[in-house]
Amino acid sequence: MNDAVKDAVKNRQPASLIGQRITKLDAPEKAAGKTRYVHDIHLPGQLHAAILRSAHVHAVIKRIDVSRARALPGVHAVLTAADIPGEHTHGIVIPDWPSLIGVGERVRYVGDALAIVAAETREQATAALDLIEVALEPQPVIADPVQARQIDSPSLHENGNLLKHIKVRKGDMAQGFAEADLILERTFHTATTDHAFLEPECSIAQPTADGRLYLYVGSQIPYADRNQVARALGWPDERVRVVGQLMGGGFGGKEDIAGQIHAALLAQATGRPVKLLYDRHESLIAHPKRHATQIRVKMGARRDGRLTAVQTELYGDAGAYASLSDKVMTRATTHSAGPYETPHARADCYAMYTNNPPSGAFRGFGVTQSAFAVESMIDELAEQLGIDPVELRRRNALRVGSVTNTGQLLHESVGLLECIDRVDSEMRRRAGNDPFRARPTPGQEHRVRAWGFAAAYKNTGLGGGAPDRAQAEVELYEDGALEARVSSAELGQGLVTVLQMIVAEEFQAPLDQVRVLVMDTDLTPDGGPTTASRQTFVTGNAVLQAARTLREGLVRVLAERFDAPPSQIRFVEGLALVNGHTAPLGEVAAIMKSEGHSPRALVEYWAPATQPLGAGGDMHFAYSFAAQAAEIEVNTRTGEVQVLTLIAATDVGKVLNPLGLLGQVEGGVMMGLGNALTEHFILEQGVPFSDRLARYRIPNITQTPEIVVLHVEHPASTGPYGAKGVGEIVSIPTTPAITNAITHATGVRITRLPVDQEEIALRGEGRGR
């Protein structure tokens, strides 16, 4: 390197990558169609699996005869519950979900598996299913959570149908309602919905020569998969290696274990690699859903709009097995007073087992449902009090110094008021001062437009006293490459890009010098589940600490080698600058090695401690906040609703990568839009009608409105560079912003999701103006 270059490098101020628009690390391969998903893997000698599912909603199994299926040419194994060597049940929170239902046991939903087959071809495996004879005794069906709680309902599980009663208590409800000038009460219903990630589930289990099993799968929690598969096989965890693959979307739907156990059992039995691909029908029927809920809200306020009391009662349809219902419904419950301060709050939630498909994690994690209910009530309250709905929210909004309904004092990073103000001024800039008034389209009086508004908050991280930690390792190689290793999952949300940026930032190295390895339980340390909007915060912090630990190691070695004070050592453009010397990072790695140090750092990061619900104090270490406004047009003749504009402001603490954030906001908004208008996983007495994409409508391009994205940054002091979670909050206010707009346009109150557009046409008649 010549002197001029050296000087240039020396005088360069480190440029921060944080906050810059960085394109996705894995996007070029994906755009070329070269990315390998699990279904694209073909192992030599691989067999194909098929699963015999119950198709009965609730029944006791009397007999299963697989002998004829076993005899079919091409079939290598047919397994039933009796063939499972290890544990028979799985489950992330409560292991109550049988991998296969045995004779004498009970099927509790149509997706329950009775037998699994491995054959040379998929066709043979499927043909074998038809030869399995099953005798069963149908049982009465529990189709909804309210029915499940009735005293004469049959019990679906040993301890009855109540999975959990979740309680929030703050203040004194009698006093709160006595202080109110106005009390409103209303009941809301939300539908079962599906993630409809574009890639159906696929797993491949491969026995290895040294007696282990490799599992190729797209999973949001690789270490939990490893543990659950190992338990089913009756093996120690380490004998299983999960080799996680990039996923075609997850959104919470790839947290519960799916075909992994079945593929593993068949591979163990046959000694051959086994691929298990769900077709879309099977994917829709089998995997956990978003909880259908019934939510009653009773809200009291003073004439000036200040809330005095909020009481809610929630029923959550947990479906056949526990999955993550405990956690999801807890989040629904604790967020059911909205992002507002109220002196008196009470919430009771009954998470109930039913004979519907299990409900589990889905972006928003319960808060999607309760936000719809509470934001609808807030709007009605504003109308009845004659207060502008934005102003009413402002008066009650959580701010620094507020105490939440669970007793948490918010001491920093509460950007809700700024979100509300930013969205409000953008809305009024476009719509004038009366955005919530219905405006018929001139010349087409049956087309009516109006705006609607909603706000929300959502925790970052597990919270509730759960230890929230992640391990991460960062290594420097002699070729100058830096590598971050975490088991966390890349579902398309862009985690690997954020981690790449963090390492590059800490070493002031070019982005392309940093690679990120994820989701491999042999090669990457445990980063915990990819859920609860926690990866940027928790794994981000872990990688940040690992990078800093490694950098300090380099500084120590360089200081000694060049006899320089550590404070004089800088990193610029992939080089270390010390005492006028310039050393490429690769050389520093070599120096470290020659001195017996290994150029890598493994850390375990622990997020700030949280308290369990009921204990008061910090139930969560951070919250993200959002406000959104939607302008819609209703065709009052047909009831058809089109969203025209959506303004979204989100307090994410600190914007790490605006391009990635935009993608999260726009995608999240469209999910919220689908949740409002079209998405309904229809079940009739436990039997899915929505068993094909044609019967489960996710939004397409024709429904995409103009989306205006505003970033709000109230840093969280413990977040990486101040950042907190973003994945879920962006989708939560969308639904109530849209439904509130519909009410403003038509006068019809929306109490049930998705919006019944025909009903709007009928009930809105006469207000067609």
Binding site: K30, T35, N700
Partner: protein
Amino acid sequence: MSTPAELTTALPAEPRAELTVPLRFTLNGVQQHTTAPVGTSVLTLLRDRLGLTGTKYGCGEGECGACTIVVDGASVNACLMFAADLDGRSVTTIEGLAADPRARALREAFVEHGAVQCGFCTPGMMMQATQLLARCAQPDEAAARAAIEGNLCRCTGYKKIVEAIVAAGQAPASEGRR
């Protein structure tokens, strides 16, 4: 997935002799001679028999567009077309776009504009977008939106995909060619 034969005696499975048909067609510019079982879809032929896995399976029933390919200049859902019907036709898949300058501009725009998240819809979107640029070198937003109406994306909200397609039409490479 299947339903148990409840309390019934199922018919013995006749090991069906696979009925296959010979096929000649052009795949990404290369002449193919192969055979395919009668009921096989083009998607299965491409993915399982020819090893071209860039074309994705998302639903198998024409709802998602993840399997979009181009046959004789028209975009088609590969899951809905019988392989036997390919005889004598010309097929382009995502793998065939590697050297196409319009596709290169699109790939760059998709990356640059954040149009790719999980990437599972991306090959189908790329096929539609390349088709559009072949018809209309500088599509406006309305044209870009119309082009991807049959393709679902669960991650991006579509906005960035539309932006990327419009931008690719404006890119110097495609302007130079007009």
